[in-house]
């Protein structure tokens, strides 16, 4: 495989999104657009109104009187297991006796239309015996030791001894909020029953295999009879990794009981109330350091809010803990992770998967140390960066190879002119203070290292299925799902490259468990890495057979035959790819193959919290410039400069899109997106009117992006590319640091330590005024 992408047929070229044309003309089919048979019924969910308690009765008489045609389905109607948990068996599709959060599904109403089903839901009354002491926040869960699993504790060196002996030490704590995924397409599933207990489940999911398993468990029907499908998602971001399964299983249960197709499309309110989000975290730390900012010892405790069930909270915590080091070498390091169980919605995967929380923790600590010492944060970082001098072993034991920190810093200085702009920001602030004006600017750089691979070794596998037809067209299928990230076009580019045929010879098909079984979620940024490699392997098997046959046809050795732009060349003779495909068929040569890939070199011992869980690291860096209004607490991002390592990019256009979108999603998490709960545990931000994701004017008007140059992946990934889905989100932390920088220059009494995430106007005001009540 070529080390650079310059002379390639398809790979490395900026092909457009695979169905861009159809998406722009309204012809792209999402699940809500699938034409329905006449007998299709529609569902709406009955959700819990209390955070914790026992269900004493579900009163449906009024609803049935209101609309006699409805069917009410609850836990007692489940023929199989009331559990769809991906890891631990603790996640019912319907609360049976006990409810554990506001918004938990208790039942399904099926009616002839969505409107009728939703209207009937309002007529259902649930009687509860309320638990008087629900656990609604992290502090209480921690105090009561209400945890999932055994707390994780790992150590390297002697952190506490080093902290004691260090010339300086600081202790503190801070918190960061969760985040709703706010995919534009809400959760949706369409379940269709067929003969012989077969079911087709269309589900907007990142994980069709898990949907298949969930439905199989709930209906007590073998997985082989369940066909789980999705052509595209209207956004996922982790929110449809495990969370889709519950809705798919509920729709399937309705279809099973009524023997008719059932569609369940959640409205935004029910989606936000019932489905999991990014974990909110609390951080407690103590750190010892010298006067130059060299960290001598670090002791960090992370609390994550798992919500009511464990779901993916264990691997999320593992990723948070393994990203506490970011780009820094800590030799004396202790970390603890507590996965707290609360009576709130189960938190789940969200782009970054704990990585952003871990990285925000360490960056905030270093920022605080730099202000304490009154030294530049970037100078402090230099004392601590991974390097041969400082050390290259992570606290969890993986060696950090091919470090690109210096390269990024050098490229960034030319790209963003950081040092000069720091002075301009200070000048601006002095002038604002002198003129008694309310604006303050802040600027910050940050580097990011992100580990690529699922933390759980077994998940790092992928399959593909490639067929070549006798007309020379190629059908591509693999286990990855397309949710806008451009996976389908990237993998098609790989196949086009393998056969050296134009990209439009390759037909991209939707994901389904019939063609490629036992897949992993499209998650952990791994989509193109693992599915691309599986597709390459499948195509290579077919190509070898075709080449062998071409060698017979041309009567030349295979080494003298070349596949070139849809032609097969041998000396001065040639044939088309189509002619060769047809000739293979005539000569009874198989033109179909599966491909399978498993990520090499990775190992992990969760018990000892030790190993090399990541195949490689991606590197990135950003500079953000922020402005705040110290009278109102409002803030803006003025400019962002990003350099991201994509290895040898498979598709620079698509990768840049991921960087732009990921960064802005992170800005939302850290500034305007606040999940607000009532004192009795009810999420009050249930729609875009109260939950604010970034809009067109909340993004930096100056937004400069560049892919790190000449950095093919040193590991043998598909065409030496690197994953890009999650890493850019972490770079948004630079904006949070820029806001802290602005607050630190707001006045003599301002206190940037007080800023917790998200940096809403009220939190910024509190920090500006050193108000500890927030």
């Amino acid at each position: 495989m070529a080390l650079d992408n310059k002379n390639n047929m398809s790979v490395g070229k900026s092909h457009y999104q695979d169905s861009s044309f159809r998406q722009l003309t309204g012809r792209a089919e999402y699940i809500d657009d699938i034409p329905l048979s006449e007998n299709t019924l529609h569902g709406a969910l009955i959700l819990s109104e209390i955070p914790s308690g026992m269900i004493t009765s579900i009163e449906t008489e009024k609803a049935k009187k209101f609309d006699p045609s409805i069917t009410v389905i609850t836990a007692k109607d489940i023929p199989g297991r009331n559990d769809i948990a991906p890891i631990f068996a603790d996640e019912p599709i319907f609360a049976e006796k006990e409810v554990t959060y506001v918004g938990q599904p208790i039942g399904l109403i099926v009616a002839s239309s969505m409107e009728r089903a939703r209207a009937a839901v309002n007529e259902v009354k649930i009687v509860y015996k309320k638990d008087k002491t629900p656990i609604l926040d992290l502090d209480l869960a921690f105090k009561k030791k209400n945890f999932f699993l055994k707390p994780i504790h790992f150590e390297r060196g002697k952190a506490n001894e080093q902290i004691r002996q260090a010339p300086h030490k600081l202790e503190g704590s801070f918190s960061m909020g969760g985040q709703d995924h706010f995919y534009l397409e809400t959760h949706i599933a369409l379940a269709i029953p067929h003969e012989n207990s077969e079911f087709t489940i269309w589900s907007s999911t990142q994980h069709p295999t898990e949907v298949q398993h969930g439905v199989s468990n709930v209906l007590n029907i073998p997985a082989a009879k369940i066909s789980s499908k999705v052509r595209r998602l209207g956004g996922g971001f982790g929110g449809k990794e495990s969370q889709s399964t519950i809705y798919a299983a509920i729709a399937a249960l309705g279809a099973y009981i009524l023997d008719k197709p059932v569609k369940l499309r959640l409205n935004r309110k029910d989606d936000m109330a019932s489905s999991g989000k990014r974990h909110d975290f609390e951080v407690k730390y103590s750190v010892g350091f010298n006067k130059k900012g060299k960290i001598k010892g670090l002791d960090i405790t992370l609390l994550s809010n798992a919500g009511n069930v464990c779901d993916l909270s264990a691997p999320v915590m593992s990723r948070a803990l393994t990203h506490l080091d970011n780009c820094y070498s800590f030799k004396d390091f202790t970390a603890r992770g507590y996965i707290c169980k609360t009576n709130t919605v189960s938190n789940t995967a969200f782009r970054g998967f704990g990585g952003p929380q871990g990285m925000l923790a360490i960056e905030t600590i270093l920022e605080r140390v730099s202000r304490f010492l009154e030294i530049d944060l970037d100078e402090l970082r230099h004392e601590n960066y991974y390097s041969l001098k400082n050390g290259i072993k992570t606290p969890y034991g993986q060696i950090v190879k091919n470090i690109k920190i210096e390269k990024m810093i050098n490229e960034m200085e030319t790209f963003a002119g950081l040092e000069k702009r720091k002075l301009l920001v200070e000048k601006f602030n002095r002038s604002q203070i002198n003129k008694n004006q309310p604006y303050r600017k802040g600027i910050a750089f940050m580097p990011a290292k992100f580990g690529i691979s699922f933390n759980k070794v077994s998940l790092n596998q992928a399959g593909a299925l490639v067929h070549v037809y006798t007309d020379g067209s190629v059908r591509l299928n693999h286990g990855g799902t397309e949710m806008g990230q451009g996976l389908f076009i990237k993998v098609a580019q790989v196949v086009s490259e393998c056969f050296n045929i134009p990209i439009d010879y390759v037909h991209i098909s939707g994901t389904n468990t019939d063609e490629v079984p036992n897949t992993s979620a499209t998650a952990a940024s791994s989509g193109s890495d693992i599915n691309g490699m599986a597709a390459w392997k499948a195509a290579t098997v077919i190509k070898r057979r075709m080449l062998k046959h071409a060698s017979k046809v041309f009567q030349k050795p295979p080494s003298s035959i070349e596949f070139k732009n849809g032609l097969i060349l041998s000396g001065n003779k040639s044939m088309t790819f189509k002619e060769l495909a047809f000739s293979c068929w005539e000569n009874r040569i198989s033109l179909s193959s599966t491909g399978f890939y498993k990520t090499p070199k990775i190992s992990w011992d969760q018990e000892k919290f030790k190993g090399s869980p990541y195949f490689y690291f991606t590197w990135g860096a950003a500079v953000s410039e922020a402005i705040i209004d110290i009278d109102t607490g409002e803030s803006r991002i003025l400019r962002a400069d990003i350099i991201q390592d994509c290895g040898s990019s498979l598709n620079p256009l698509i990768d840049r899109g991921q960087i732009e979108g990921g960064f802005i999603q992170g800005i939302g998490w850290l500034t305007c997106e606040e999940l607000y709960y009532s004192p009795d545990g009810k999420l009050l931000t249930l729609g875009p009117s109260t939950y604010k994701i970034p809009g067109s004017r909340d993004v930096p008007p100056e937004f400069n992006i560049k892919l790190l140059e000449n950095t093919p992946n040193e590991e043998k990934t598909i065409f030496r590319s690197k994953a890009v889905g999650e890493p850019p989100l972490l770079l948004s932390i630079s904006h949070f640091l820029a806001l802290k920088n602005a607050i630190s220059m707001a006045s003599e009494t301002s206190n940037a330590d007080l800023l917790n995430a998200p940096a809403t106007p009220s939190k910024i005001l509190a920090a500006v005024h050193n108000d500890h009540s927030m």
């Binding site: 457009y16 999104q17 169905s19 861009s20 044309f21 998406q23 722009l24 003309t25 309204g26 012809r27 792209a28 089919e29 999402y30 809500d32 657009d33 034409p35 995924h181 706010f182 995919y183 534009l184 397409e185 809400t186 595209r232 998602l233 209207g234 956004g235 996922g236 971001f237 409205n267 935004r268 309110k269 949710m483 806008g484 990230q485 451009g486 256009l653 698509i654 840049r656 899109g657 732009e660 979108g661 990921g662 960064f663 802005i664 999603q665 729609g687 875009p688 009117s689 994701i693 970034p694 809009g695 067109s696 004017r697 993004v699 008007p701 937004f703």
Partner: protein, 155 residues
């Protein structure tokens, strides 16, 4: 129930529907044009934007009855066969979409904005797109697309 007639992408559509039928449901469910999407059901996200007598309207918060006799253009009515509208072409070339769910509404809003203001500035574009939210792109390429679309539309 009552009969509602309106012109949809140049074609007269007459359907007998319940009085409280939303315009979005008339278009999606009764006529079967599913290019216009529902994102939030509450008039915030803009995935359902269509043109009603040349004006951008959120079809999720308007009754079909209110559109009686109107001329409606949806995303399906923008292209001329396989020839994309200049704004669609600009979104295509500038990678102004990812998951594509907000895209129909984005494009419809953009077309109206530029039709009314041929020399639209970047600031005006950003302001004009405030009623359409996108979770994937970070808006950068959407703004670039609208700029390029405006140029193609003869701005």
């Amino acid at each position: 129930m009552g009969e509602i007639s309106l012109k949809l992408n140049g074609k007269l559509e007459t359907k007998d529907v319940a009085d409280n039928t939303l315009l979005i449901d008339f278009i999606r469910e009764h006529v079967g044009l599913t290019g216009t999407h529902v994102g939030c059901d509450t008039s915030q996200c803009g995935a359902c934007v269509i043109h009603l007598d040349g004006v951008s309207v959120k079809a999720c918060t308007m009754l079909a009855k209110q559109a009686e006799g109107s001329e409606i253009v949806t995303i399906e009515g923008l292209a001329d066969g396989d020839e994309l509208h200049p704004m669609q072409q600009a979104f295509h070339e500038n990678h102004g979409l990812q998951c594509g769910f907000c895209t129909p509404g984005m494009v419809m809003s953009a077309v109206e904005m530029v039709t009314k203001n041929k020399n639209i500035s970047e600031d005006e574009i950003r302001k004009g797109l405030e009623g359409n939210i996108c979770r994937c792109t970070g808006y950068h390429n959407i703004v670039q697309s609208v700029k390029a679309g405006a140029a193609k539309m003869g701005g």
